[in-house]
């Protein structure tokens, strides 16, 4: 019925827009005032129907403003207005019906009406008919989005009517796709619907599955004989397809079998039948085991005071006497078959894309681990030094980014400034640490570990004292907002892509520095044989200092990257330190490719485990670490180990 009205309305809109009406919108609103003041998704429908049906000129504008939380109400008389900013902090009232100015008012005299998002969704649904053929493409898109979110059978006709006149090809394609989706759900013609269903074969869109899946909704039903006249998905055998207990409960619910007396009821029955400290002649004190209680209950049942128990045999017989089947809610088998086949083809596509998405996630995580660990790998590999304060260098980088954003409000510029600055700050911090502490602990790697741990807790607390304990915002420029979307399954945020690119850049840069520059040559010389290197005129102290600064500087840059996609707190670094160690150790020490391999393995493996155990990320991390411990058994020197005697102990 409603649908027909809407169709009529749509026709009216198409052929005779803007009927002149005598009634005033304000009057109409007045009659619905209570519901407009405190709207709810469940009660607003009739109000909207009335507004739309009134065909008054201001309705579309009113609905739009209402949805955008720009509707105001005068406290004194409850009248609704739109407003504009006026001089002196006052608001200029605008009449909703005529669009004319209606005097100034104080903000305190007005209430801003803010419908919740559920109501806004319903309003958007009501707006569809006004907007679907609006000259402004922005409005048309809004209407389509509203339709996609909450489609209604009544919309199908309006939508079909709005396709041909659509000038924009992209919007037209979207309208057509939506039309097919609505046809699947609300279409009346079997052939049309089947065609629409089949047109989505291999389409990974969530909306396509969302339209198809409801067709295949089933419920389990009980039949006395083989089911007829219903669309059966499959027959169920108790014991293999369905738990016997559940099946029996279905029978009980259908009134086809006697209910089983639950344990609690049996206990209550015993309590109710206590007489002089005896239950059916058994002293209460003896009822300390379940079997004793069962005996007492059976005795009571024998007297007929309580309902007898259902025996296993009786249950078995009841199950054997009935047929259980999964039945489609959709009666038409042609539709369900088409939907099932289309979904099967979709699930293949989706499976492939899910794998792609997982690979992207793994790659992204790997690049983050790589960035976090590579600085550590350099210092560890070249100097054999375990720097527990590495995480705090990451933190320093992130806070540098935050501080820069306090001075440079433009996010793009601030990131461009922050990256080299974070490198510089962390570089200096690293050099300071090397000069002041690590140099004096040469050849005592375990003690370096402890000293740098001391530095780590001191730095963390200092950061807390300076920046406070709250997380600080580090905001990415708006061009990094959002995600690269291939389809509804595969997408990855631009930030992650940027981090990936950054990681690649650093890989390239480091390879260049280590393999093509004088510094790299000297670093490699010091790594392989410090005594020989120093006899050749290389100053190992200088090299160590520079290497340590380089490693720390990269950690600083990693800090900016991590801060952009996660959070900036004083504990930011400590969350990555153990992971970074494992990346370095798994990959193999003293080798950039090794770190890359380690990060790649840990990142992708973690995602893989998460994939198999989606409801428990914590377990995934545990298994990951156990895997690493076992992996080290087989490759104690990591994936890519330095070979030969030099690598020996």
């Amino acid at each position: 019925m409603l649908r027909i009205i809407f169709l009529l309305l749509a026709a009216l809109l198409a052929f005779a827009p803007a009927h002149a009406q005598d009634a005033d919108l304000n009057t109409l609103l007045e009659t619905h005032r209570a519901k407009i003041e405190k709207p709810s998704r469940t009660t607003i429908g009739p109000v909207l129907d009335a507004l739309v049906a009134s065909q008054l000129p201001g309705v579309a504008v009113f609905l739009e403003k209402w949805r955008e939380k720009e509707l105001w109400q005068r406290k004194s008389d409850g009248r609704f207005f739109l407003v504009e900013k006026a001089d002196g902090g006052k608001l200029m009232l605008i009449d909703v019906g005529t669009g004319e100015q209606a005097g100034l008012a104080d903000k305190a005299d007005l209430d801003n009406l803010k419908p919740n998002s559920g109501v806004r969704g319903v309003i958007a649904g009501a707006l569809v008919q006004f907007q679907l053929s609006d000259p402004d493409p922005e409005r048309r898109l809004q209407a389509l989005t509203a339709l996609e979110r909450d489609p209604d059978a009544s919309h199908l006709g309006i939508l079909r009517a709005a396709i041909d006149s659509e000038p924009d090809p992209a919007i037209k394609a979207r309208k057509e796709r939506l039309q097919r989706l609505l046809t699947i759900q609300f279409g009346s013609d079997q052939a049309n619907r089947v065609a629409a269903i089949e047109s989505f074969a291999g389409d990974p869109g969530v909306d396509a599955r969302a339209a198809l899946n409801p067709l295949l909704a089933t419920s389990i039903k009980v039949f006395d004989t083989a089911p007829e006249g219903v669309n059966v998905a499959r027959l169920l055998t108790p014991g293999s397809d369905i738990e016997p207990d559940i099946a029996y409960q279905l029978l009980v619910d259908a009134g086809k079998a006697r209910p089983i007396v639950p344990l609690a009821d049996r206990k209550q029955a015993l309590i109710d039948n206590i007489e002089n400290g005896l239950v059916a002649g058994i002293p209460v004190a003896e009822l300390v085991t379940q079997s004793a209680r069962d005996r007492a209950y059976l005795a009571l049942a024998g007297n007929g005071t309580v309902p007898p128990l259902v025996t296993k045999e009786e249950q078995r017989q009841a199950l054997a006497d009935h047929v259980f089947a999964e039945v489609y809610a959709e009666p038409d088998p042609v539709l369900t078959t088409a939907a099932r086949e289309t979904l099967a083809s979709i699930s293949g596509t989706v499976g492939f894309y899910q794998f792609v998405d997982l690979a992207l996630d793994g790659l992204s995580l790997a690049s983050i681990y790589f960035l976090a660990a590579i600085g550590l790998a350099i210092t560890f590999g070249v100097m054999g030094v375990i720097n527990m304060a590495h995480g705090e260098f990451i933190m320093i980088g992130a806070y540098t980014g935050y501080v820069v954003q306090q001075f440079i409000p433009n996010y793009t510029v601030s990131i461009i400034v922050a990256l080299p600055l974070a490198f510089a700050v962390a570089f200096l911090a690293g050099v300071a640490l090397e000069r002041l502490v690590i140099r004096y602990l040469a050849h005592r790697p375990l003690e370096t570990l402890l000293a740098t741990f001391g530095v780590s807790i001191a730095l963390q607390q200092v950061a807390k004292n300076i920046f406070g304990t709250q997380a600080r915002p580090l905001t990415s420029p708006s061009w990094l907002d959002g995600a690269w979307v291939l389809n509804d399954v595969v997408s990855i945020s631009y930030i992650r892509i940027a981090i990936f690119v950054l990681a690649l850049a650093f890989l390239g840069l480091l390879l260049f520095v280590l393999n093509k520059t004088r510094l790299g040559l000297e670093v490699r010389a010091v790594t392989q044989n410090p005594r020989m290197a120093s006899s050749m005129g290389i100053n190992p102290d200088r090299i160590n200092m520079l290497t340590f600064g380089l490693g720390s500087g990269i950690a600083g840059i990693a800090g900016v990257a991590i801060g952009l996609f996660a959070k900036v707190t004083s504990e930011l670094g400590s969350g990555y330190i153990v992971q970074s160690f494992m990346t370095v150790v798994v990959g193999g020490v003293g080798n950039i490719w090794g770190t890359l391999a380690g990060a790649g393995m840990i990142g992708s493996l973690q995602k893989l485990i998460e994939f198999f155990n989606p409801s428990n990320t914590l377990a995934a991390q545990t298994y990951m670490i156990i895997f690493i411990i076992i992996f080290i058994q087989f490759r104690p020197k990591g994936i890519i180990a330095l070979k030969g005697r030099a690598a020996g102990d």
């Binding site: 375990i386 003690e447 001391g454 607390q461 690493i628 058994q633």
Partner: protein, 390 residues
């Protein structure tokens, strides 16, 4: 040339004597004893500190003597706590449940009791079933055995894997750290059956002794901790003073050399690792009933790093060094977090110790490693030697 342990390790007698004196003095001054000069909360702090000293001795044995920088001994400490905690919690709850069910009209069946215990213990964390790992929880004897067995077995298996593949030095440290992280992450899960993040709580209430005031219970545990520490010190001193001690120090100094002398280095490491894990577990089993709660955060890798730092500050390779380090750092932490340290106003800025003590602690670690590589124990040795010379 057979000399007694005390002749070989003169510090043992001094240590045991001082410990006994300290224990007796504290007990006499305690609230539980009647004098009430030392508060129950301070007795508990002291008792816990003694347990920390015991695990520090284990750490010194494995790191200071055998050269294995394990960043995982708090995992064994925590496991010990969990094992005893299960019994404490189960029995306490059982008492409550039985008392509560006895008010019912029918006497409770064993199933009902078990079910009620399950709801009571796990209801808090969204469960009701008693997990399999609690199988022995109602037997004190079994759980005491598990205090030793579970951490011992974990150490044995982990150590066997790690030592067999010749993982040494910092690699081993990182691997032990990974083990600790894995264990704490595992326990953080609710599905671990040990109440996830909530851990086991109310452990200070000893089942069957609910009428005994905490002031007395705390003294008992203090005494037990002191006894365990004394015993642990004795065992450790015995282990390190003989040929075995020479061999493990040789392993620390030159692993390859001692291997070519025919010593199965891996077996020695395994023995030391497992032995110290067991000592750590016993320390934990005494610690957590005094702390009252154990949860996975206790096992987090950072705790084990702190342990290494205590030993480093106290002085590696000296058993009393470990004790000094653990006692000093943990008592200092306790003092600083207690809010009693006065703030220092500088006019333009007020130094609040709550904000700055960790900075101080961290820098303290750095200074000790830089300027006193042998720790406080090393300074101590120097003093003693000077005395001897004069």
């Amino acid at each position: 040339m057979q000399r007694s342990l005390f002749a070989r390790q003169p510090s043992v007698l001094v240590f045991i004597g001082l410990l006994a004196l300290f224990t007796i003095v504290i007990i006499i001054l305690s609230e539980g004893f009647g004098l009430g000069i030392v508060s129950t909360s301070f007795i508990k702090i002291l008792g816990k500190t003694l347990c920390l000293c015991l695990i520090a001795i284990a750490m010194d044995l494995v790191w200071g003597y055998c050269g294995i920088l394990s960043l995982g001994h708090f995992a064994f400490f925590g496991l010990g706590g969990y094992m005893i905690g299960m019994w404490l919690m189960y029995e306490r709850t059982k008492d409550i449940v039985i008392a509560s069910l006895s008010g019912g009209e029918l006497p409770a069946t064993p199933e009902e009791i078990t079910e009620a215990i399950g709801t009571q213990i796990f209801g808090v964390v969204g469960g009701a079933e008693i997990p399999v790992v609690w199988y022995f929880a109602d037997s004190l004897f079994a759980q005491l055995l598990l205090v030793v067995l579970v951490p011992g077995l974990l150490a044995l298996v982990f150590g066997w894997l790690a030592f067999r593949s010749r993982v040494t030095g910092v690699y081993l440290s990182i691997l032990t750290q990974a083990m600790t992280l894995a264990l704490s992450l595992y326990l953080f899960q609710n599905d671990s059956g040990l109440r996830g993040n909530n851990g086991l709580s109310g452990l200070q209430n000893i089942p069957g002794l609910t009428e005994v005031p905490q002031s007395v219970v705390s003294v008992w545990f203090f005494l037990a901790s002191a006894f365990a520490l004394g015993l642990g010190y004795l065992v450790a001193a015995w282990v390190v003073s003989g040929k075995f001690g020479n061999v493990i120090r040789a392993i620390r100094d030159d692993e390859a050399r001692i291997r070519f002398m025919g010593y199965p280095v891996e077996a020695y490491k395994l023995v030391v690792f497992t032995l110290t894990a067991v000592i750590a577990a016993i320390a934990g089993a005494l610690y957590y009933p005094q702390a009252g709660i154990i949860n996975p955060a206790e096992i987090a890798p950072i705790a084990s790093i702190y342990l290494a730092v205590w030993v480093a500050i106290g002085g590696r390779g000296r058993l009393y060094g470990a004790v000094i380090g653990a006692a000093l750092v943990s008592l200092l932490s306790s003092w600083f977090t207690g809010g009693q340290a006065p703030s220092i106003p500088l006019g333009f800025y007020t130094i609040d110790w709550v904000d700055w003590w960790q900075v101080l602690l961290g820098l303290g670690f750095v200074l000790v490693t830089l300027f006193a590589p042998k720790g406080i124990g090393g300074l101590f040795d120097r003093l003693v030697r000077k005395d001897a010379a004069s």
